[in-house]
């Protein structure tokens, strides 16, 4: 159906879970007070996405259409619980920070969305690639938001002071309203980038570069 490259670009950028589809807002706004939290949450979601996409794709021809959604939910919930337990055991400190948001991955529409829209119609390999690409896209979005909020709200990146002691952090960006404000500006930036790219596409290149 679609090439590997298309799946990757679509998952990571053009159909990015956050920037294009605006899904998964709850963990996105909830945990992104620091860059490292964003990455942690993103990686946990990536693992669930990859697992659920692969399994959904594996069973796609055996599950009757009428009961596919409950089956997908069971599959996703199982993966979330596995991640929750494994993180609690081996990444205890990060698990403490992300806490409540890990179980909430179950209700992240992005994951059910990928299972229903992609994995239930494509091969296992393609679904795995899609899971990784979408997961990375989500992680990138969480990192971007987390990093901007940490930078503005605490003057730090990964816990390291950037601006020196004279900088007075805008605490508002760490607080919940800051998440909405920062996300708004990031979306504005993304749309601006997209618009620039569209403009460039319209203007034909004066000299076509021959392929090497």
């Amino acid at each position: 159906m679609s090439t590997t490259k298309e799946i990757i670009t679509s998952g990571f950028w053009t159909n990015n879970v956050v920037f294009a589809q605006l899904l998964g807002m709850c963990p996105l706004l909830g945990v992104t007070t620091t860059a490292i939290n964003g990455i942690g949450m993103g990686m946990a979601s990536l693992a669930v996405l990859l697992g659920s996409n692969v399994v959904v794709s594996l069973v796609r021809n055996y599950i009757p259409t009428e009961v596919r959604i409950p089956s997908y939910i069971i599959i996703i919930a199982s993966f979330v619980t596995i991640i929750d337990l494994v993180m609690n055991a081996y990444l205890h400190d990060l698990h403490k920070v992300l806490g409540l948001f890990i179980p909430l991955i179950v209700v992240n529409c992005a994951i059910l969305g990928r299972a229903e829209a992609f994995a239930s119609k494509n091969s296992v390999i393609q679904s795995a690639i899609d899971g990784i690409a979408s997961g990375l896209g989500f992680t990138f979005a969480l990192f971007l938001l987390g990093a901007s909020r940490e930078l503005l709200g605490a003057g730090q990146i990964f816990g390291i002071d950037v601006f020196g002691p004279s900088y007075h952090p805008a605490i508002g960006f760490i607080l919940p309203p800051g998440a909405f404000i920062a996300l708004g500006f990031i979306l504005m930036g993304i749309k601006w980038l997209e618009a620039k790219r569209e403009e460039r596409k319209v203007v034909p290149a004066p000299i076509p570069i021959p392929e090497a």
């Binding site: 007070t33 069973v59 055996y62 599950i63 009757p64 009428e66 009961v67 409950p70 089956s71 069971i74 599959i75 919930a77 199982s78 619980t81 596995i82 337990l85 494994v86 609690n88 055991a89 081996y90 205890h92 709200g153 605490a154 952090p169 605490i171 760490i174 607080l175």
Partner: protein, 203 residues
């Protein structure tokens, strides 16, 4: 085969497989999770108790129930640190119910006679950048060496001796209050708190 049976069977199989996978994961991770939690408590204990205890405070415990420690009357674990059999100090978690946002759980340690040897906030949901200074600054150190008499228990705004933070008075006020209550409980029950566990007493 009628469709509804097929659907039921499919759901049953999915459920069965999911349940067994989860059961296996749970049994594999049970030990590491317990160990991680134990390490977490031990780390906090080493922070607050006086240096040099040579027993395992996390297994030398006793439970007390008192409204000053926990308003909901849940039993509170007292971890007792001893050195060569002598009492070195006891650490326990008190809960400040009146923080700015939710409960603040504070592990505090007291040495025999009633001197606070250290406190550490183990769980809170205070405002980052304001209230969370009770964790990220040296503020908890201001409790070291304090007894019920040698300092006025309260933040400066309330006429006490403990610093508050610019923009955050409620959080330190709640912590000071909770630690004071915990200390009062200790003073009234010191003998009982250090009493060896009943299994040891039976020897």
């Amino acid at each position: 085969m009628p469709d509804f049976i097929k659907m039921g069977l499919a759901l049953m199989v999915v459920g069965l497989v999911a349940t067994s996978v989860l059961a296996v994961t749970e049994s594999v991770t049970r030990e590491p999770i317990a160990e991680a939690k134990r390490q977490e408590i031990l780390r906090a204990l080493t922070q607050v108790l006086p240096q040099g205890f040579d027993n395992a405070p996390d297994s030398d415990t006793v439970l007390f129930t008192d409204a000053r420690l926990n308003r909901k009357l849940k039993p509170v674990t007292f971890y007792r640190g001893r050195k060569g059999g002598a009492n070195l100090g006891v650490a326990y978690v008190v809960i400040a119910p009146d923080g700015y946002s939710g409960n603040i759980e504070i592990m505090m340690a007291v040495t025999p006679g009633g001197t606070v040897s250290g406190i550490q906030v183990v769980a809170h949901a205070e405002t980052p950048g304001l209230g969370d200074k009770i964790v990220i600054t040296d503020w908890p150190k201001s409790f070291q060496g304090k007894t019920i008499d040698n300092i006025k228990w309260g933040v400066k705004k309330d006429g006490g001796d403990f610093d508050q933070f610019a923009g955050a008075t409620i959080t330190p006020r709640a912590v000071v209050k909770a630690v004071k209550k915990g200390l009062e409980f200790f003073l009234e029950n010191e003998a009982k708190i250090f009493q060896p566990a009943s299994t040891e007493a039976a020897k």
